[in-house]
Subunit: 413 residues, 2 copies
């Protein structure tokens, strides 16, 4: 029998306890050991819980108990999750977490510590909830060089965009609906401003290319500026708008990484990933494109991913899982303004000569149309060029009296 | 250093050699050992190959060499692949295979032998080519009960159906094109009659539910009877026709399993899996629906899956992978005529009263229409009922003078 502790009895934590309780027999069969929860750490009281006697408010109970061999960290947030995780690893305990903030900020350090202590630090649930993605990338794709990854990594924003696309709901209304349905938090900033997706693409990038990318190195744009006008132009272009986290390895050894809304062609395998679902496309040199799709969050999907990691820890007390990346460096991420992209631009011109002026500056562009365009409004897609060149040209247009209202990158997958 | 042998130098075998050669360093890093090919078994001569000195025509060279610790079986076919695999396992060597026929026919026996000999028998490449699916089902979903699996498991038939749907190409023309492009063999029976998909759903069913399902237990229909008329009716119903392998666990402990063309709603996550791509939907009680998508075959995708298994063998010489299912039983699979389905039916009646007669027998049905229907032709979708009841009712209709031309099940995922 293996004893474990669960730190945090929120949505995922209570799910972990539920999955371990409801699948005890199957899990014991797969882990070849019975897994028993000895402690649940939470500052709140749960007197009526069937697990009441397992609750503790003291982290010291857990870290000092040599019987506890695996600790599940599902508290969320960076502190004290980081300090607790560190101390558990130092105490020779394996740690499983669903905490993307922790892994994105401290992954390299904690993986190095786990390696030193000869224990495991696993985090399948930190990206894609119940979708297996960390393990497939690290194992199944071991014989591949990953070329790039692109993903719809945040269910809340995908729900909002889906409502805007399908039901012509405005951004504010769609956000309010997401909050009402419990998909978005009262303070939705982490989701709608792209920070959550950013943490996840940092984890995937670090894993796929073996070197830590930190969230503050990644240019991140959310979806708060997307309007129904943009949705309609995307439709006329032949696609949809999705919030994408994307990373590509370049020949010079730097990665290109960004989080932003993108136009995706309807033929893209990610274009039909709707509602709260996540989809992650991994491009390998041998496999070609492989896509993983499912619920990216939620109590039971995330909990089942955590429990699968716990089982893996129990099975690998001797043979450590190979999961590792080295520390990052400041010059590892290419300045996003050097990325070459096509750009959708929505603009306004007083006279009817907007597109003519645009083509004087940009050369040939693809004009887009929508019904009920406002007076003077027009939109187009540029040819592929470096972002800084696009910036310069748009500034030129503004000087000549054209108002640039919005701009969205075109995805190429 | 670990020495391995590759049995069979066809498409996948040469791909395995290529991947091992091109990714030597990365693979050594991941396996924590250098992996070296000592033998390649093939009856043909390859005098100009850079690996010429590794070729042997004698299986005995491999099985009797104690330095060979992992054997890759990519010969295909049941014999002598089965005998060779058995002898390698008995000699204490781990075996990795891409051979779905072997695993579908002999999986339980070979897994039991591997367990007894304390070696590994791995077969990630046998289903879905380069798509990680065996490992995610067995590991990541360890904390789930799988409810069911449905998949587009054969790229050749999916290519043919895609051509019929998108380009209104007839079945024969689409097959000829697939053969010309190298997607279909000169004798395409295994693909177009559903046997290949059947082997794959047998492997997935055996793995997900822990008990072997043999191909001869599975009702299997191919796509040779699908016509453009059916494609058009599917379109008017709101979907597409796909060849599906499907399994569901029932409360009575029997599985429901079938391979056949199905109508899939356009909203299904499998409806957009086109061309030679495969897509596999796994429904878990905790994760909900998780979908895996990618190239289901091909030299490098399959080879990279084989090599990932080889790496896993090398990392698990001590800790065996938990991959196991027990032998099957004759009563484990429910008679498919007891399955409850909705059925699309295309029929012909001399008089104009076809649908009226249908509703007298079936009760309410959903009539479908298409342009350019032939005189007397009509089509409808029944309500959900047991297949044997549908059979009886269709016989009744035939007695009353209605000709039943085709019938296709409606997928419910």
């Amino acid at each position: 029998m293996v004893e474990i502790a669960v730190m945090g009895y929120g949505v995922v934590g209570s799910g972990v306890v539920e999955v371990l309780t409801n699948h005890t027999e199957n899990i014991a069969k797969r882990a070849k050991e019975e897994i028993r929860i000895k402690y649940i750490l939470d500052l709140r009281e749960f007197p009526d819980s069937p697990f009441a006697e397992k609750f503790t408010k003291s982290f010291e109970d857990i870290v000092n108990d040599p019987e506890v061999r695996v600790v599940v960290e599902v508290m969320g947030g960076l502190h004290p999750a980081f300090e607790y995780t560190k101390r558990c690893l130092e105490a020779g305990k394996s740690v499983v977490t669903s905490n993307k903030e922790l892994v994105a900020a401290k992954g390299a350090e904690l993986l190095a510590l786990a390696q030193k202590e000869n224990v495991n630090f696993l985090f399948e649930a930190s990206v894609g909830g119940g979708i297996p993605i960390i393990r497939p990338i690290s194992q199944c794709l071991a014989a591949n060089d990953v070329i790039g990854i692109a993903g719809i990594l945040n269910g809340t924003t995908n729900f909002i965009l889906t409502k805007m696309i399908r039901d012509q709901m405005g951004f504010e209304d769609a956000l309010a609906l997401a909050q009402k349905l419990g998909y978005a938090e009262r303070n939705p900033a982490a989701d709608i401003e792209g920070h959550d997706a950013c943490r996840k693409i940092c984890i995937l990038a670090s894993l796929a290319f073996g070197k830590h990318v930190y969230p503050e190195q990644v240019h991140t744009e959310g979806i708060t500026d997307i309007t129904l006008a943009d949705v309609e132009y995307a439709d006329s272009w032949g696609g949809v708008i999705k919030l994408i986290g994307q990373v590509k390895m370049q020949e010079n050894g730097q990665v290109q990484i960004i989080v932003c809304p993108m136009f995706l062609s309807r033929a893209s395998q990610l274009a039909n990933v709707d509602d709260v679902f996540n989809g992650i496309l991994v491009r390998g040199d041998s496999t070609g494109d492989v896509v993983f799709y499912g619920k990216g969050a939620g109590k039971l999907p995330s909990a089942s991913a955590v429990v699968a990691d716990v089982i893996d820890c129990v099975k690998h007390f001797k043979a450590r899982k190979y999961l590792f990346w080295e520390d990052g460096t400041p010059d590892y991420v290419q300045d996003y303004r050097l990325d070459v992209v096509e750009m959708y631009v929505r603009a306004k011109a007083e006279d009817g000569n907007g597109l003519k002026k645009v083509e004087e500056v940009f050369g040939k562009v693809t004009p887009l149309a929508r019904k009920h365009a406002e007076p003077g409004e027009f939109a187009f897609v540029t040819q592929a060029m470096q972002e800084k060149e696009i910036d310069q040209k748009l500034e030129q247009l503004e000087v000549s009296g054209i108002e640039i209202v919005n701009r969205i990158r075109i995805g190429d997958f």
